[in-house]
Symmetry: C2
Subunit: 180 residues, 2 copies
């Protein structure tokens, strides 16, 4: 950030009064521009004991497999976002279930929230997808999963075996991982 998005003046980096962190501040129109983590919402759509994965047609991780997931948009709930991403990436309708995993991808400034889901009907490639496929647990291409958050979510999904055991929380940082 270099310019104020409200008035176009140059911004400065410093702590506002009463704040403990530096922010981008515009001294011309007195606006503080906060920057905060984004939410990624995803879903593990299940049907007849298999789950739906998508092979990515975009970077990062082109050609790797992922659960349907993407950035939450303004105006939708997290469950609506998970369903929308599943439709966009895999042309698939889901009945969204319970929230079962939350991964802090700290260095990317993201929190990834994963729901269970029941796939209703079929699936097909969306614009950002090369291929969609149904996998049993034994068939999951673990070495070709796009992101560590997705690997964590899939492992916990199968460990839960359909039960709601609460949310499994995990933190991913560039050079280390921690789980509780």
């Amino acid at each position: 950030m270099k310019y104020c998005s409200s008035c176009g003046s140059l911004v400065a980096r410093r702590k506002p009064a009463g704040d403990s962190r530096e922010r981008w501040i515009c001294d011309v129109c007195n606006t503080t521009h906060y920057q905060n983590p984004n939410i990624v919402v995803g879903c593990v759509p299940q049907q007849d004991g298999k789950i739906l994965l998508c092979k990515r047609a975009i970077e990062p991780r082109y050609g790797f497999w992922t659960v349907p997931a993407g950035f939450l948009e303004l105006g939708e709930s997290i469950a609506e976002g998970a369903a929308r991403e599943t439709m966009e990436e895999a042309c698939a309708r889901v009945k969204v279930g319970h929230l079962f995993a939350s991964v802090d991808v700290v260095d990317a400034g993201q929190v990834h929230l994963f729901f269970t889901g029941e796939l209703i009907g079929g699936h097909a490639v969306g614009e950002e997808t090369l291929e969609t496929a149904m996998y049993s647990e034994a068939e999951i291409p673990w070495d070709d999963i796009a992101f560590r958050s997705g690997t964590f979510a899939l492992r916990k999904y199968f460990e839960d075996a359909g039960r709601n055991n609460g949310v499994h929380i995990h933190t991913v940082r560039r050079n280390r991982q921690s789980t509780d």
Copy 2:
């Protein structure tokens, strides 16, 4: 948003190629400025069967009671954010427990995530707080809780009675509510 925060030029509102939504776009430096929901993290700190609430010293809802909560910052996990907010607002250390409630505050562009917690030691007023107090379930000032998300979280907290029953999900919109 009116100006590009990268180069200071005027931005335009339209759908980027391959996108389904309008975004703020800078045609001078080719930057798309996405706007997405923010995360609020909170905690219900418990000690000896009572929970800690804070009376707000800031707007909105000055003088109303809230569980310690605030915006997640870049560089921290959601559990770390909940602990930090509890320290800032109530000068209280907590051992963060499990995630038990998620409220989509859709019209505000926020998702509120609430953890259980164990209060370690005492509490005192932080900068944004007029008063801190420990309440039993029977003593909760239900009519003076600051936000609907907090009311929902507190109700589910007491319904759970210490058990991890998974995450209770709720959506708040300006003129209607829905729960699953």
